[in-house]
């Protein structure tokens, strides 16, 4: 009997070790394939780049050094440049804010239309879902470039482009939030004859508004970056100033430095602000 137990234990152990070895082997092979893919990818990217990685590496600080040197030389102008770039910065923030606001409003409506239990037309839920997928998949730059061609440069194309993408991105997150909402208040409202907008406004919104706000804030931070980038392709704001200063080359690097500083500070500020507010909402005021 005792002998039998020991033998079966050995068998079990051998089997376990074999399984572990097999798992380790598979894991190792997966890792190896992944590393090879990554290395090959870097190889191809390096080959197709205009300048190689290794020859470029020593020059990585050349451009920042040039900018810093020139900005330091003309440091007396820096406060003036900072003030000059301020309106452009405000425009960039405005683009992001308008896009986030309108995008969030659109996302609220679309997310309600595409959540089971809330949707007034349950059959159309897949349609609205695919619509959000499509809006999410559309990179901002595509819409921005098309709209710049039609509407001319300026903040409006950028705001529309970012808002369009925001509807899709926030809509998905909002509908996930909506799915966790308690449906009892809605039923209660329905039983007293409330219309669909009334049910949503009085029954749903108070439950989910904090979560919506938190996601919208995160999106606002992302949208500031997007709006700066779109400026670079001609949509106005601080990105446009940066492009002008940089393509001028030597001689305007002090302006470029001022824009760099402003952009950096803005992004860090909103990044910290949004993570602070979101932390506060999640953990309360104490943490």
């Amino acid at each position: 009997m005792a002998d039998l137990t020991a033998a079966s234990l050995d068998v079990t152990r051998a089997h376990y070790m074999a399984l572990t070895r097999q798992r380790r082997l598979y894991g190792g092979i997966m890792l190896l394939v992944f590393v090879l893919l990554l290395a090959a990818g870097f190889g191809i990217a390096n080959e197709r780049n205009a300048g190689g990685f290794l020859p470029g590496l020593p020059h990585i600080f050349d451009f920042p050094a040039d900018v810093v040197a020139e900005a330091w030389e003309k440091r007396a102008n820096l406060p003036g440049h900072l003030i000059d770039a301020l309106p452009a910065l405000i425009e960039t923030i405005n683009i992001a804010a308008v896009a986030t606001l309108t995008g969030a409003l659109g996302a609220i409506i679309l997310s309600m239309l595409s959540t089971h239990g809330l949707a007034p037309w349950p059959r159309l839920i897949p349609v609205f879902r695919r619509m959000m997928d499509l809006m999410r998949a559309m990179p901002e730059i595509v819409i921005a470039l098309v709209l710049i061609f039609i509407l001319g440069g300026g903040p409006v194309p950028a705001a529309i482009a970012i808002a369009f993408h925001t509807v899709g991105a926030l809509g998905k997150l909002f509908s996930e939030v909506n799915e966790n909402a308690d449906l009892k208040p809605l039923e209660g409202l329905a039983s007293v004859g409330a219309t669909w907008p009334q049910r949503m406004l009085l029954g749903l919104v108070p439950q989910v508004a904090p979560n919506w706000f938190s996601y919208a804030l995160l999106r606002f931070e992302i949208n500031i970056r997007a709006s700066a980038i779109l400026g670079f392709v001609g949509a106005g704001g601080i990105g446009y100033e940066l492009k002008n200063a940089i393509s001028w080359g030597q001689g305007k690097f002090d302006e470029a430095a001022a824009v760099f500083i402003l952009l950096f500070l803005t992004i860090v500020f909103f990044d910290q602000l949004s993570s602070y507010v979101r932390n506060r909402m999640t953990y309360g005021a104490t943490k």
Binding site: G41, N46, G51, F149, I150
Partner: protein
Amino acid sequence: MSLATASSSVDMRATATALIARKRLLTFAVPLAILAYFVYIFFAFDILGLRERARLDNAIALVSDTYSYKTHVERNNRRGEIEVAVEGERKGTYDATNYPSWVTVGEDAATIRLDDGGTIEINGDIVRFEVPGFGLIEATQSRADGVTINLDTSDLPDWISYSNTRLSVTTKAARLSLTKARTEVFVYEFGWELFWFTLESPYYGHSFSEIAFGDRIDPTRSNLAGAWQDFWTNAIWRHGDVAWALFETVLMAFLGTFGAAIIALPLAFLAARNFAPLVAIRMAARRLFDFLRGVDGLIWTILLSRAFGPGPMTGALAILFTDTGSFGKLFSEALENVDSKQIEGVASTGAKPLQRYRFGVIPQIVPVLLSQVLYFLESNTRSATIIGAITGGGIGLLLTQAMITQKDWEEVSYYIILIVLLVMAMDSFSGWLRRKLIKGE
């Protein structure tokens, strides 16, 4: 006792009233503030001026180019040669063997039959345009008299514009333009012409079944191989280059995302409260992440393209730098939330620090990390398009190039469709991988 209850109920009542008053204020104040902001934006963005700046003709050109193309029939009035070409491009010029069926080209003459029943006849210096429901427009040009027409020039419909030097007639089916230098007819047709093969290719004009199952068209090559070769090297649509560009975009996203994850993982241990050996190191790591994130992809792209030149490597590195910051923050937060009991359990078996991390920490955080990384992979495909447009690589570059020339809008729509499909494919791929790896489905 009863006194205490009474006073507390008075307190509660007061707090409730205050809360309700605050709620009431908020319900009115928030929409009002948003409305006021929109009014401010209305003027700050100069929405009224937008109408003047908007170029509706651009929009029409864009939309009509997206689903149709035009073929130019052009007579050079100085030399008297007639040429038929798709979009007027040299690469799309027909020769005598393969004129479209609606045009007959003779000796210094051409007859064009339009879809709506009208005809345009070019005969030397004379053009006759038979417009259904209107009548015949006959125009002549000569070096001495300029352009003359048979109509009463004081009473022309608005789709005909005429001056001594130029006649332009625009109908739904075609546009005719006549000057002393050239006679041009633009015929609009549905679809994307020459999408599969250019005119030089022997496979042009053959259907798929003819190529796949029919007789050998080009004696030197097998049908499928030859057709693939001609499709891939199509000089107008450049399918091969486009495929490379799409691959480059995915490559940028892939290298940037996973490179950043690999670099950020060890750094995240230094930034996590429960793992960092020293407060100073923790602070330094966190500030490093903030810095990498704060500089933003745009600035990294500009800085790096100065050192490495334009291309996918630069784009990949720009994504890598920004995302190292984002991942560092996310990973260190995930690390701060790990359960210490598992680590203690592993430590109690005598595991060394590295083994403790490997078997106590990594299994706990891998699902969180993987889902973050895969989520970023999808969103970075979109970023790679934008970064490619700035630094010059991938499909973003092709898109901006096609837009700057402002004429090949069908290519622009083709690229847009490809980009959207690419992003959606990456989205479902990363979702599939996430389910596979994390839930083990």
